[in-house]
Each structure stands twice: as C-alpha cells, then as structure tokens.
C-alpha cells in the first residue's frame, strides 16, 4: 500500500456557512457590479467588447484557418510544390482533401496534382495536413471571412483557388516561411553539391579512363 504524500493534508475548506447580517452579501455583490459598470467607462480591461466589423481584434501570428498551397516562382500551376503524394489526404481527420495524381499519356507519374480539392465546409482547421506534409507545400491560412451565398459549389476550393505565392506565405508567417526557405535552400545546396560532386567524380573517372586508354593503346 502506498503512503499518501506528506504535502497532501486533506485541505480544510473555509467555513462554508458564513452568514452575516441578512442582505449584506447581496449588497456586497451589488457593489462589485456597480464598480464594474463605472470602471467600464475609463478602464480598458473592463470594457472588452469591440464593434466588429469596424474594429477588429488583433489576430495572433499563429492563428490558423483553412489550408493553402504554396508555389515557387510566378506561374501558380507550374510552381506548385505539391507532389500529390496523398499523405495529407490520408491523415486528414474529416477526409476533406481530394487529390488525383497527374500522369502523362504513358501512365507515368508527373509528381503533381491533377485535382487538388479541399471542401472548406468540411475542413475543421486542425492543421494536420500542414504538419504531415514532407514537401513544405501546404500551410494554414489566416483568412476567416469566407462566407459565400452558395453552400456547396463555392465552398469546394480547387488548386487554382488554393494556390498562394511564397511571398504571401512570408508575409503571413514570417518566422515559419524563413525557416522553410532556409531548410529548402540547404537541401537544394546539398543536392547541387551532390550533383557537382557526382559530376566531378564522373569527369575524373572519364579522365582516368582516357589516360589509361592512352597509356595502353588498343592493339
């Protein structure tokens, strides 16, 4: 049997039956509401409501609402980072993402989405798609005024409507975008370096071979 922790004395509750002069408790409470009413005229922390849409509450930079797709360069459709790997489609809790992989006429994968739809009437803004994406391609937006008059059609966003430039991302989430850009650049540099090293190696091998051929001319 476990011994109870010494710092757990069964806390003595305060006297639960504290009657005073009848009506005093009521008056004390009224004093509190009265003070709050008066203070609401001059204390900012007591007057907390604002007049939307003329005034808007500040939004935290981490606020997330609906995903978007990032593209590099100027052409939105050509520059999409998405490779249609369908990881987000599988992990999406309400299953609101629909992806079709684009293929050429031989059936070979082109590693880009032919269809990328998100039903924002089903989407619940959890951000799991952005978290699991291994290609830095999908992120959470901060846009929240998306009311439309068509309940079905206008709320299914296709890839044209989802695409946003890297500049948009950098403006929306500077810290995250900078980190992503740095890691992508590092990966790109590594790839370039690897390619260069490979080229150099191939070149050296070719030179060595040529040299060997020279030294031992074919009979």
């Amino acid at each position: 049997m476990e011994t109870p922790e010494t710092n757990t004395p069964p806390a003595a509750p305060p006297s639960l039956t504290e009657w005073s002069l009848p009506g005093m408790g009521l008056l004390k409470g009224l004093a509190v509401t009265g003070a709050n009413m008066v203070q609401s005229f001059y204390r900012k922390d007591r007057m907390t409501t604002i007049q939307y849409p003329e005034q808007r509450a500040p939004i935290s930079p981490n606020f997330r609402n609906f995903p978007f797709l990032v593209y590099d360069g100027d052409d939105a459709m050509a520059g999409l980072r998405c490779t249609a790997c369908s990881i987000c489609e599988k992990e999406c809790p309400p299953q609101c993402i629909y992806i079709v992989l684009d293929r050429d006429e031989n059936g070979k994968s082109l590693k880009r989405p032919k269809v990328f739809d998100i039903d924002v009437s089903v989407c619940m803004n959890c951000g799991i798609c952005a978290e699991v994406c291994p290609f830095d391609s999908i992120y959470m937006d901060g846009e929240y005024e998306l009311a439309t008059q068509d309940r079905f059609g206008d709320l299914v966003f296709n890839k044209q409507r989802l695409a946003r430039s890297t500049d948009y991302h950098a403006k929306l989430r500077p810290v995250q975008a900078a980190a992503v850009a740095a890691s992508r650049k590092a990966a790109e540099d590594k790839k370039l370096a690897a390619a260069a090293a490979k080229e150099a190696k191939a070149k050296a091998a070719a030179e060595a071979k040529a040299k060997a051929d020279q030294e031992q001319p074919a009979p």
Partner: protein, 200 residues
C-alpha cells in the same frame, strides 16, 4: 500503483471455481494484464473484489465493449498465459477497469466474453455491485448488442429507441441515405442520390 495480479488471481480462484478466472497477458508496453472471468461468476468476482477489505476495489471507472469477429485477434491482444483452446467463433467482450480509491491501486482489468456474436450474447449486469456501470452497460447494449441480464433499466441510450442495429459492431453497414453532404469524394452523394428527387 499496479495491482498484484497473481495474488488477486489466486485469491479469486480460492473463492470461485478455479476455472472461472484466467490470467491474460498484455503484449504491449502498457503492461496492463487482465483477468478473464467466466460470465456466470462475474458478479461474484466483482463483489469479492469490492468487499474484501484489503482489496477494496470500490470504483468501477470504465466499461468498454469490444466486438471481436476474429477470435485470434482477441487472443493476440489478451494473450492466454496457460494453454487454452482457442475460441471457435467471434464474440463480444466487455472490459472493466477497477480502481481502489482508498488504496490508490489500479487499474485492475476484468474481461468477460459472450459465447457468440449473434444470439448468445448475455452477460450478467454488475449494476448491483457498481452503480457506475448503469449507463455504460446501457451504452454497450445500445452500440454492441450485449444483453446484460439483471440490468434494472436496459434500454437504448444514445441511439433512438426505434433504431434496430448496433452501430459499433465491426460488420455494421451505415444506411446510405443518412446524410446529404456533397463532399469532394462524392461517394456519399452517389449513395444518397436515389433517395432524393432529381432537381427540376
């Protein structure tokens, strides 16, 4: 504090017929072993666990219903410690988690199994020992179809009274007109179409 399962098992076997309780090992990292109790001795076992002063399992926290269409899977999750013949067909299972508020011990996991999934689905209710099982057993009756004999008020609780199936069973098929929501997948929409008149 995890309860000392072998001792409890021996003591239970001394009070009940020895074959009524068996130790089942949990293969996962949680190490929460369980006791498989024959349904006809379940209430007696609970009463013993609650009323024996040095055991004092006074709180039945959780009652879970499980549908096992494939009995091999059930034995993989709750591995028999002694050699036992594998069950022949699928069954429904009820898992109980007991705690002791005074001794701060738990969870003690009990499990009871029905004979099959279709007709012989009776398990005695433990409501007379633990009131906390009242709504949870009703829920399992509602969603899995386990019939708790001796339950004072066994009615559907979450589904409506006219509902006929048991939705948490693994072979439950959702009706095809239950929602009309055009998701991008359109599978639901396609299924629902015959139930709605075409737009003029």
């Amino acid at each position: 504090m995890t309860p000392d399962l072998p001792t409890i098992l021996t003591r239970l076997q001394a009070t009940l017929p020895a074959a009524a309780v068996a130790h089942r090992r949990n293969p996962g990292p949680s190490g929460q072993d369980s006791l498989l109790v024959a349904p006809e001795h379940l209430v007696a076992a609970c009463r013993f666990l609650r009323d024996t002063p040095d055991l004092d399992f006074d709180l039945l926290t959780n009652v879970t219903g499980v549908d096992w269409p494939d009995p091999a899977k059930a034995d993989a999750v709750a591995v028999p410690v002694e050699e036992t013949p594998p069950p022949r067909g699928g069954f429904l299972e009820v898992v109980y988690q007991l705690f002791s508020t005074s001794r701060r011990a738990g969870p003690l996991v009990l499990r009871a199994r029905t004979e099959d999934r279709q007709t012989r689905v009776k398990i005695p209710s433990v409501v007379e020992v633990y009131r906390s099982a009242e709504f949870q057993e009703r829920e399992i009756y509602d969603l899995f179809g386990v019939v708790f004999t001796g339950h004072p008020d066994l009615r559907r609780i979450l589904m409506w009274d006219e509902f006929e199936d048991h939705p948490m069973r693994k072979d439950y098929v959702a009706p095809d007109d239950y929602e009309y929501e055009p998701t991008p997948h359109d599978a639901v929409l396609e299924k629902a179409k015959p139930h709605y008149p075409a737009a003029p």
